[in-house]
Amino acid sequence: MYPQDYRYTKEHEWIKADGGIGTVGITDYAQQELGDVVFVEMPKVGAQIKAGQSFGTVESVKAVSEIFSPITGEVLETNSALVNAPEKINQDPHGSAWLVKMRIADPKELAGLMDAAAYEAYIAEKAKEHSA
């Protein structure tokens, strides 16, 4: 379910590092919690973002949620396909519905994020809290 080569945040974003470039999106767990996504607000290309900083929002029929950056870096590209088709986030959250591509300022920050196994354990714990 959760790609092995991605890293994950506690706020349910993923990042896939490729060379010095990180592709960022929200996780399948996040899209399920949000429900039908109707709008995505993304940062401006060229914006300098710090790790943990809110850089956009995802709005669904029942909630609006901030997107927090997993790493520090410059925004290189935003996914323009989501502007007119935000529902892609529900359909393919780990693939074509990526949100932004960023230049990774400090690759060491990636090590501080969860791997797939740790993230799956984290959301399993969350699910337990919910049912408790």
Partner: protein
Amino acid sequence: MRYLPKSPAERREMLAAIGAGSIERLFESIPEKFRLHDPLPLPGPLSEMEIIAYFQARAAENARGYTSFLGAGVYPHLRSVVTDALIQRGEFLTSYTPYQAEISQGTLTAIFEFQTLMCQLTGQEVANASMYDGSTALTEAVLMAERITDRHRVLIARSVHPEYRQVLATYARNLGLEIEEIGFTESGQLDRAALAPEKLATACAVVVQSPNFFGILENIPALADAVHSNGALLIASIPEPISLGIVRPPAEADIVAMEGQAFGVPPSYGGPYVGVVATREKFVRQMPGRLAGQTTDASGRRGFVLTLATREQHIRREKATSNICTNEALYALAATIHLCLLGKEGIRELAAQNLSKARFAQAELEKISGVRRVFSGPTFNEFTLEFPRSVKLINASLLREKIIGPFPLGTHYPELTKRAVVCVTETMPRAEIERLAAVVRRILETPI
């Protein structure tokens, strides 16, 4: 939903339920020095007869029997008893914010109709449920342009209502928004030569008013071209919306900020008024204020609901597009009823009457020696005249004849002393226009 205060018994019950015992106990967490220890210095309760006597006495202080040629942002127009009768129905008059769609379809439907009418009038794609008034609508439009363009300078025509500009300046003071004023030409229109491309390239928006404070219509399409080619937005402020019955709608503007008082709301000292923000659909998420949307219920029936509420501050205070968390629902309803009574033909005819009566008044006044038209641009129901004497002195003499004179421009424009804006709407009888001309002639013929 009825909105009634709690009775003392209910308050006691609520306090007992939360274990507070008394209002004083409930507010204990507020530091001592901020608490009120003495009752507010308010007069005691009055009996019903005393209240009626009090208000009759206050009402008797109102000026009666005056004829007014004062416009400048507030306009006397035809009103129907139908509007007043309908807006005073309890379902509308005492209804609370329609958060619960299942019990608020009447209010929501009325708001949706209002938004639709505002779009039709302004040539825009989406309008909100209303703002406080035209001045705050204009300011909110500028803040919206800032969010859209990420630029923090605004170019505003000096011919925009001076009080609207003051409201903008008040908001801007602590928001890091820079305001630059743009002058006017001898036509009375915005000086387009002052809009250099490098100036526009750093501005979030250019703000014009049409008809402007001098009564002159701005050329919105031509301005839009210049403004857009440099990445700025064009904001059109419309304080006299009856003009839209005859003037081309400001469809080329990116945001329209309107005052709706002319639609069924009487001129009144200090309002209340009803503002409107209308814009293009692509900017809808940057709009301030409430928005009613059309949807279908669980059984597939057409219904209405407040929508895009995540822009509003009761959902996400720190990310809200505006600090407005209300609207002028009752006067938006008045405007809706009034416009429905008028209809398409009615508003056209009303606008045409304004235009022809104002033209007649202008011609009558221009016949007086020393009185001349100041600006060459096209006008609607207001026009600027130059007088050979101080307008304030002329107005003082007019007042003795029970005529409220034109708005003296010298108060806000030092270079325009002895000039004043005359307003003539469809409510002005021909005989009163002729009386104004006769009295002004006599005043000017009298040696000082």
